[in-house]
């Protein structure tokens, strides 16, 4: 289960950057979920590199769903997405040194020279395309249940977006945004930051902030099935994520308890609610009904044209190398689609455990 995520709803991922096909198997999904191919296509488009701030690699992401859907609805059997690899130029990668910051080195060590080195092989961020495809199907089904997921670029390099304010409006605004930033002037500065990095033959990192509204209270729980545990497990599987925090996160560690605690109130219907949300919607590892809030730190794209010290493995010697080719100066904005997808998959899994395996589907 190295490449399988989840318990009740599971995603199994396969493929390599320059292999024949990449794809995934989404299993445990309720029967009766309507599958809209354009939803998948739109999500893939958001993940796809585009414009001057992205790699020149053209990924058309023609996908096909080859199992698990019949007459437009999920059947309860595993749903399989296939995406053929087309624009692969394997010659780019022949006899080049180990790319610092990549899995090149560890794949070589772990798999004793048998791993596929072309374009990062199975470790390529290209493998996030099937995750996005599967996540898009699940996310749309969650939306029909009133559960809305959205992610914005909280920062790129040292440029910051504003935080979430009115969640409903902000999430609506972010839907299908290729460069998901809440504050327009911040967006411009971020794009400038990315272009500046590219000009310097360099790259830049960023932070993604995600919110989920409409979640019921009571998901997760048990010491080792806390929502924080299960979700961070999935988020740290997204390439380039090196930090995850919930609600106030690292900021809470510098606060007093009286600042960090969220007061509890009763609303007019007698329902509990939190008067603030520094816990990020999770107390004791269980959702409390407040929006889920978390942030992912993305490291800068490791492949850069600036010369770097590394090793040419085939000749067993240190070299200084500039990695030219088609690379993204920033992946944080494209990763928003991946974080949304992964979040949808984790929530569908938790919801299936809570409400049973049928819950997400429609009635016939």
């Amino acid at each position: 289960m190295m490449n399988t995520l989840g318990r009740a709803v599971t995603l199994t991922l396969f493929g390599e950057s320059h292999g024949e096909q990449i794809g995934c198997v989404l299993d445990g999904l309720s029967a009766g979920i309507f599958v809209r191919e354009e939803t998948v296509a739109r999500a893939l488009a958001l993940r796809r590199p585009a414009g001057s701030i992205s790699t020149a690699r053209r990924e058309e992401d023609e996908f096909s769903i080859v199992s698990g859907v019949y007459r437009g609805y999920t059947t309860g059997a595993p749903l399989t997405v296939l995406i053929p690899n087309k624009d692969t130029r394997s010659s780019d990668y022949d006899s080049i040194p180990l790319r610092p910051g990549h899995a090149d080195l560890t794949a070589l060590m772990k798999y004793k020279g048998f791993s596929d080195p072309r374009g990062g092989g199975h470790f390529s961020a290209r493998l996030t395309a099937p995750i996005v495809a599967a996540g898009a199907i699940v996310r749309e089904a969650l939306e029909k249940k009133g559960i809305v997921i959205g992610t914005h670029l909280s920062s790129v390099g040292k440029v910051c977006d504003r935080g979430f304010e009115n969640l409903e409006e902000d999430l609506a605004f972010l839907a299908d945004k290729a460069f998901p930033v809440l504050d327009g002037s911040a967006a411009e500065k971020m794009e400038a930051e990315i272009l500046a990095a590219r000009e310097d033959c360099d790259s830049v990192g960023g932070v993604l902030e995600t919110a989920v509204t409409g979640l019921p209270a009571g998901l997760g729980g048990g010491t080792f099935r806390s929502v924080e545990s299960v979700l961070s497990h999935a988020l740290f599987s997204v390439p380039a994520v090196k930090g995850v925090e919930y609600g106030g996160g690292f900021g809470l560690s510098a606060m007093r308890g009286s600042e960090a605690n969220d007061a509890i109130g009763l609303d007019e219907r007698g329902e509990y609610y939190l008067k603030t949300n520094r816990c990020g919607g999770i107390l004791g590892g269980i959702t409390c009904g407040a929006p889920l809030l978390f942030r992912c730190a993305m490291k800068p794209t490791p492949t850069i044209a600036k010369p770097q010290e590394t090793v040419l493995a085939s000749e067993g010697r240190e070299v200084i190398h500039s990695f030219h080719g088609r690379h993204d100066p920033c992946v944080a904005h494209r990763a928003a689609a991946v974080v949304n997808a992964v979040t949808a998959l984790v929530l569908a899994d938790l919801l299936a455990q809570h409400y049973g395996e049928d819950w997400l589907g429609e009635e016939k």
Copy 2:
């Protein structure tokens, strides 16, 4: 598997703050691991509240190992640790309001009024005692294999410790330190910070930084079994942890790729090494042989004597309440023992998957 951690080596946790016994079952451990009871006792002592900066609750933590050990060695059968609860004053918790920042609210909602409210029930940080006991056994076995784990208080409130410098010396220095801080003057300021919080009827958070030396390259891997994923899953199960970052973590998101990447070199024996370690010892989700480095953000202890807005559930009305009683103004230092334990458990699990189920034991 709500309260079970791991795949090959698993920990199952049980008990409530004011129940008869708390404990854990450690399964999948190699036969032939020497179990030293004083190692367990010492680890429990580090987790135990002590002195003016801790709760007045006296926890003696008399433990017994009731299965899985024969003539001093693990047998390959599940090892069970039991810790009786003694100093419980359940009357303290009768008809008191929901404690903000605790699981009181979510346990009530999830378990529909059936959860044990006394002292937080199963959600009590008291449950970290068996984790520490089990982790101590595993950690000592790892040390015999040259794998050393250590944690220091990177910050308390706004007071910071210095970072790790010479790892070998620093980890030796931290061993069995009740207040694990590298810089003596920082330690004094931190204690002052904690006492100031207590005087204000408040509490304070902190950040823990952990290092592991001696790990082989090649652990982890597979998209959804990255070391970051598996370890963060466990770390976010530790009460009060709200953020986890590896290596440069959130700081990497503000860097350029040329700053964030670790140059790769070849040492005199022709082995690969990293010239820096901003990746925290993990590339592509796989250990690379460099020390594992990560940080956990701990929120302030939620139970404070300062008045807070909350709800008295039994009467269904909002109240303002001061939570008097025996509470820690800071738990970050005590949590170091828990983080070390959890780390040992996760590494033993990854090592068993990598090298097989016998690896950690001795030969007869």
Copy 3:
């Protein structure tokens, strides 16, 4: 997860025959299940050796539930059962040869001499006591939902009981029967068979047949989560079980399709039903609403007083040995309680996956 059964509802087992305590942790159970200690005691009594047809070992099975229950109801936290070992005579087992048909040999080989040899250690059938205790709690909760489980001794040696006829009456008749046989004259012959084996310093095997009524259609499914798969996994964990068959089982292999198939009909309410039940209530790995029917083959108790060829491991030489001591000439009737317990646990797990984690509990 060597000693953990299940996914949503899990049982983790620990202890050794002559250790301090044996027990289990039952996790994932809905909150709000009423726990009646006398139900547990009664189930343990059925498993316990009694009378002339059983071992002379006196097992009082004083159990205590040390976590997971508050004011009589499950809390949603792990429920732990402890049973102290009292009547252990370890001297019986010192320097005796490997017992043929037992785990003595394989435990020695697998655990390299570190396993606990006293009374079979963790491999002792004594470990079925906590399974029975946990199963009794779950079984009673299932009965409140209309799901009734019962097992009879289909055969002992070559003596056969009649098959199930009127399931409702037969299951009611079997409830709490220490020697669960439907046909009184068969029961007498079986007891004679067992006593004859004892007189010959030998033992005898048997077959258990189990029925479950009241199960909803739709449990199980997915190629590798068929009810047959999941249930047989659990049943083959019961000591001495060497065969499992569903419905017509091995008998179906000698039939024509026209004999083996169950005709499908519509009842007066328009619901589907099977006109016969050779499939044992499972089609395509999924329950169909018909009673679940299966049979377990139990080998004869391996420990016998008749001389046998074996090896004295401590001296590394072949010997001929008679194993005197307190042993059962037949365990099949006592195993009925274990099979019922294991079945209850598996069904609770499948039901939680199907209907969600709350399903088995009451409302407050």
Copy 4:
């Protein structure tokens, strides 16, 4: 994880009888396993219907391995096999009644009308083709380690083959036999039995017997990870299997202990061995070094041309129906390839847990 088998080495299955593609993802496999496409093709050919005793459906089973293999060797990344569906005649299945003995009824009930009914959808025995493909790769790797798996038709209807005698010779004889019977005259009678069933518009069941030689002692173990448990879990996932027994199996239940026990001896090198093998190579759930022996009962093919009582679901009424079309009068011989494949997968999983994740691959 409904359609995923295994822990360390996992197989995830997908596809429907009349969908676009069927296939599987084999994950957790060691890097460095040589993948011979003709081995896969030959195994698929054995599973494929052929000659007068099989269905007329032509399945060419053109497969492709689209991930996980690079320059002929496994890479450590998931290996994916795709098999396109070609000869599908969906019109055959339009508005036909529920087929007795199939998953038609339970799929309808469980998936509320959303399951794919064409040719049995995901429940079709066609789905065993990818299992066979994946199993063939693993089985060949096991053979290089000296572990040999073979299965013969122990019986068809009431006609019996002889049992295993000289295992080495018998397994060599069975290799790549399309109709795997040890005794030539039994083979002729079995074919006659099958043709007779076909002439009667009927079908016939059978029993498969499997042996594995070369397995090390010490695999499996832990109460709920016994080899019997894990293997039966997988075997009961093979369509039509309704019974599984190990060694003497159900026959042991009619024996005395003195007959059923296997005497233990020491060979000339001082190694333990069993003087007989009624335990089927497993004691206490752990392999003992003796050959693994087990038998699977296969029910007769449920689809028959003889008229049967059933229900036309679309019209909600009982009907009597003859299922004409391309169906096997017996599937037991074709299932031998599936049982061999499943056994190989389970053993690879147990071996990876025992010896670590690298064990099965070659060194570079």
